[in-house]
Structure formats: structure tokens, C-alpha cells
């Protein structure tokens, strides 16, 4: 299980990586492993949208299920990863890298405090493994 240091995690398995005030968001290695082969990624927000924490970021569909991805933070969408519509398998092969989904300029930086760090998330995942 790959849980990189320096990333923040939501209980619903989205990760956030900060650079300045810009949050890059994707889903974790644990999440992609649970989903198995991802066949489709749909991003539900567009660049320029003002979005709220808890809103719908998109949907990831695997051969097993379709899962919603939630927004872990609020702010303004500055970029979405268009390449995922053609290469959804990146979610399986590189969840923390090429499979980033959106970049958001934070409006409520304090929301980051609600997220888990890598250690807490590791414990969280371990509790769900079976």
C-alpha cells in the first residue's frame, strides 16, 4: 500500500497535495486497489467553477462499481486532468502522479486541518482491510 508522506487524505479516499495555495486532488492507492480495473473517469467540474467541500468532483467507474469522488476542499477549479477520459487506467498505475484529477485554488485553507496525514490515513486503511 503506497501512502506518500506530505499528502493529506479524506476519509472517502481522496488525496490532496498542496503547492502554495493550490490543491492537487486525486484518489488514493487504497481506493484504486478496492475499485480494481478503472474503465472510466468522469470529472464533474470545469475550470473556473467555484466548488464546495463535499460536492461532487466526479465519478470513477471500474469493472466492479461506479463510485463518486467528493471534493475534499472548497475553492476555485483552475485545471482538470483531461487525459483521464482517454486513459482511465492511469488511476490504477499512477494514482498519486499522472492520475491527478483537479487543481483547486483554496478558499478555506482551514479545511486542510480536517484531513488526515499519511500516518493517520495508513491506520484508517488498515482498519478497513480484510
Amino acid at each position: 500500500m503506497n501512502i506518500p508522506a506530505g499528502f493529506k487524505f479524506a476519509p472517502t479516499d481522496e488525496w490532496v497535495h498542496m503547492e502554495g495555495n493550490i490543491a492537487t486532488i486525486g484518489i488514493s492507492d487504497f481506493a484504486q486497489d478496492q475499485l480494481s480495473d478503472v474503465v472510466f473517469v468522469e470529472i464533474a467540474v470545469s475550470a473556473g467553477d467555484t466548488v464546495k467541500k463535499g460536492g461532487l468532483l466526479g465519478t470513477v467507474e471500474s469493472v466492479k462499481a461506479a463510485s463518486d469522488i467528493n471534493l475534499p476542499v472548497s475553492g476555485k477549479v483552475i485545471e482538470i486532468n483531461e487525459s483521464l477520459s482517454d486513459t482511465p487506467e492511469l488511476v490504477n498505475t499512477d494514482p498519486y502522479g499522472k492520475a491527478w484529477m483537479v487543481k483547486i485554488e483554496l478558499s478555506h485553507a482551514a479545511e486542510l486541518n480536517d484531513l488526515m496525514d499519511d500516518k493517520a490515513y495508513g491506520v484508517n486503511c488498515a482498519g478497513r482491510e480484510h
Binding site: F40, A66, D68
Partner: protein, 448 residues
């Protein structure tokens, strides 16, 4: 197959919920209402029941007893006997796609063939396995288009020349969607499609038009569709699939969704149903369609095999995320349409469509020569056209019915301003003699 519970299972379940017998489950219903006395006539033997039902059945008049020029969404076509014979084979005789689909290769192959035929006719890239009828398929188009924009576009423009029953069904389906706004009703029903463009704005998700429209008029929507696309909205076209054997497909015109009533493809009129809802779209929207897509592949031994390739909006994958859980398709009627189109073939279907076209145009030209009668529109048409009568069309239709002819659809029924209009449909089933008789009786009707 439905396997009822055994006595042992029943008693185990009763024990689990803590009641002693089945009757105890109904104690919430007051005793006096549990077995009310029914005021029924004495029982009849099977023979007597058949005789009584035959009597009721004979009171109906079908297109075999009467000359019909009635269309307005359902058309009297000839269906080869082989369609019905094959349809009734036990292996096919179900409306459902099995829940363990791959074990029923025959059913999947039929759906695959059906989807292939529909995409060819409509010029679309994918077709689902069907809906109930043209009206419900149209409503699904509305819901899909709305979902496509995720609340960013909420206006749906319905052409006033879209079938009145389709528009009513769309209203029913969208009742629970508080954010969907339906527009277009304020426009002149017999105006040109251009008028719809004035309603299109940045909140518009979909414009839905009909081809040929409810009044029989055939418009090439190519320019219309590209203008709607400029605003970012989608266009759905509701079709008569028989017309597509002869005319440019909505796919060629740039439509995003094609829906339609599949009944003209060999399905009997049957007093209004069951019919077949056609739904096809472009590849980019396949994850938003309701129902399922069947694909062809090879099995582990390299043999051709059919699978449920995509069920993106279906219960078992998306459940509460699905925007429509109406997944019941008209499997049996889709099979009938598939058989009909396959038996006629590409050229046969075109020939039937040509016969419709030619006979309808003969009828239109003969009717327009009768004193007092004229054609309402000079737009091209397929097998149906509007006639302006020298008086109330309902009275005239009643007069013709006395002579054993259904003259057509009385337009005033749905469009109160057009009481003098009759919508006349002519198919390959109408002989020249019948058309001439229609004209003679219309002429007499005027003199009466």
C-alpha cells in the same frame, strides 16, 4: 421460473418473525374487511366464458373490418407471417434481458442485431435495447440531456409539433425534477422549426423536434441543429423509423440523440400497444444512456459470443447514482422489429417506404383536387399530410366512419385552433381503390 416457498420454508420464516400462522400477518386489517363478500354473477364454464369474450371482441372494429387512414404516431403496415412465427418461439418469448445475461446467447444476439439495425437507420453510433414506446424514449432523452449538463443547463425546449402524447409523457417524467424547465408550448404549433431557435439560450440543455413532425412535415434539420449547437445545447430528433429507410438520417443532420416509435417496423397496431421505444445516441454519450448495450466478442475458445458490454446507468452498478432506473426494455418487440427489418432487408424496407411515399402523394394530390379541400402545408412529407376541410373535421370524420372509413386524425382533438384539419396517413396497406373511395366520400361529405 418462479419457485414458491415450501411449507417448511414458510414455517421457518413465520417463526423468525414470531407469528404462528399466515393469518396472523393480516391482523392489522379489520376482520370484517378480510374476506369481504363479493357481489359476483354465478360462475360460468370455460365454454361460456369464451363465448362471452368472443362477443366482446367482435364489438371491436379492427383495420381488417374498416378502411383506415389513421396514423398520428402509429401506422398500419403489413408484417410478414414469419415475424410472428419466430417471435413466439419459446426460447425468445420474454420481455426481459436475463439477469445472468451471458447464459442466454440468443437473447443477447437479438439485442445486438437490434442495436446494429437501429444505429444504421438513425445514423447514430449506439442504441440501447429499447424503451416502452416513442413517448417514454423521448422522456428519457430529456432526462439524459439534463443530466449531461449536471444542473448547469435546465431548459428543455419541446417543439410544439412534437407528438402531443410525447410532450404529455415528458411532463409526467419530469414532474419530480424541480429544476427542469420545459419551454416551447407558446409557439405556433404549425410554425417552422426556426421559431424554436428564438428560445435557445445558454440555459438550454436540449431541443427536441420530430421527423417527420406530428403534422407529417419533413424538415432537413441540418442547419437548425448546427445553430442549436452554437449555443452548446443538444438536439434530439424523434423519428418514424420507416421514413429513415428513404430520407436523410438524423445522424447525418448532426443530431445528438435519436428517439422514436418503433411500431412501424412490423409491430401490429394492437389498439395502442405494446410498442417499442427507440433510443440511440453518439458514442460520447453512451455512459449516460439508460438500459444496456450488448457487444460482440470471442469466448475463451475463440468462438463468437455476446456480452452485456455496458450497463452504466443500470441498477446493479450505479443504483442510486443512475438517473433512470427504468431498465425494462421491450425485448420481445425489439425482436419483432429486428425480424421485420431482417426479413425485408435493406432494399425491401426501402421499397415499403417508397410505396408509402407514393401512395400518400397520390392521395394528397387527389384530395387537393376536391372542391373545398386543400393541403395545409407545402413542405415535403412522407406518408402523412394535413388536409384543410371545408368545415368541421370531426363532423366529416364521423360521416366517413358511417361509410366504413377512418378518414384520419382529427387535429382539433389536440390543437383546438385547427378544427378544420384532418391528418391523413397512407401506407402500403391502402389500395388505390381505397384512396379513390376516400376522395369520393370526402367529396360527398362536403355536399351533405
Amino acid at each position: 421460473m418462479f419457485i414458491p416457498h415450501t411449507d417448511q420454508e414458510t414455517s421457518e420464516m413465520l417463526e423468525a418473525v414470531g407469528v404462528k400462522d399466515l393469518a396472523e400477518l393480516f391482523t392489522a386489517i379489520p376482520q370484517k374487511h378480510r374476506f369481504p363478500k363479493l357481489n359476483l354473477p354465478p360462475a360460468l364454464s370455460e365454454m361460456e366464458v369464451m363465448a362471452e369474450l368472443e362477443n366482446y371482441a367482435q364489438a371491436n372494429e379492427s383495420t381488417k373490418d374498416i378502411i383506415s387512414f389513421l396514423g398520428a404516431g402509429a401506422y398500419n403496415h403489413y408484417s410478414p407471417a414469419a415475424v410472428d412465427m419466430l417471435l413466439r418461439r419459446g426460447e425468445f418469448y420474454t420481455a426481459y434481458t436475463p439477469y445472468q445475461p451471458e447464459i442466454s446467447q440468443g437473447t443477447l444476439q437479438v439485442i445486438f442485431e437490434y442495436q446494429s439495425l437501429i444505429t444504421l437507420l438513425t445514423g447514430m453510433e449506439a442504441s440501447n435495447a429499447s424503451h416502452y414506446d416513442g413517448a417514454t424514449a423521448s422522456a428519457e432523452a430529456v432526462i439524459m440531456a439534463h443530466q449531461n449538463f449536471r444542473g448547469k443547463r435546465n431548459k428543455i425546449i419541446l417543439s410544439p409539433s412534437l407528438h402531443p402524447q410525447y410532450r404529455a409523457t415528458i411532463r409526467t417524467y419530469t414532474q419530480g425534477h424541480a429544476d427542469i424547465k420545459l419551454a416551447g408550448d407558446n409557439l405556433d404549433p404549425q410554425g417552422s422549426p426556426e421559431a424554436l431557435l428564438t428560445q435557445v439560450d445558454t440555459d438550454t440543455a436540449l431541443v427536441i423536434v420530430q421527423y417527420p413532425d406530428f403534422f407529417g412535415r419533413l424538415y432537413d434539420y441540418t442547419d437548425f441543429i448546427s445553430k442549436v449547437h452554437e449555443s452548446g445545447a443538444l438536439v434530439a430528433v424523434a423519428v418514424n423509423p420507416m421514413a429513415l429507410a428513404l430520407f436523410k438520417s438524423p445522424g447525418e443532420m448532426g443530431a445528438d440523440i435519436v428517439v422514436g416509435e418503433g411500431q412501424p417496423l412490423g409491430l401490429p397496431l394492437s389498439y395502442g400497444g405494446p410498442y417499442l421505444g427507440i433510443f440511440a445516441t453518439r458514442k460520447e454519450y453512451i455512459r449516460k444512456i439508460s438500459g444496456r448495450l450488448v457487444g460482440e466478442t470471442t469466448d475463451a475458445r475463440g468462438n463468437r459470443a455476446y456480452v452485456l458490454t455496458l450497463t452504466a446507468r443500470e441498477q446493479h452498478i450505479r443504483r442510486e447514482k443512475a438517473s433512470s432506473n427504468i431498465c425494462t426494455n421491450q425485448g420481445l418487440l425489439a425482436l419483432a422489429a429486428t425480424l421485420y427489418v431482417s426479413l425485408l432487408g435493406k432494399h425491401g424496407l426501402r421499397k415499403v417506404a417508397e410505396l408509402n411515399y407514393q401512395k400518400a402523394h397520390y392521395a394528397a394530390s387527389q384530395i387537393s383536387k376536391i372542391k373545398g379541400y386543400s393541403l395545409v402545408s407545402d413542405e415535403p412529407f412522407f406518408n402523412e399530410f394535413l388536409v384543410r376541410c371545408p368545415g368541421n373535421a370531426a363532423d366529416l370524420a364521423a360521416h366517413l366512419l358511417d361509410h366504413g372509413i377512418i378518414a384520419g386524425y382529427v387535429v382539433g382533438t389536440d390543437y383546438p385552433k385547427s378544427v378544420d384539419q384532418l391528418l391523413v396517413a397512407v401506407t402500403e396497406m391502402n389500395s388505390k381503390e381505397e384512396i379513390d373511395l376516400l376522395c369520393e366520400t370526402l367529396a360527398e361529405g362536403h355536399h351533405d
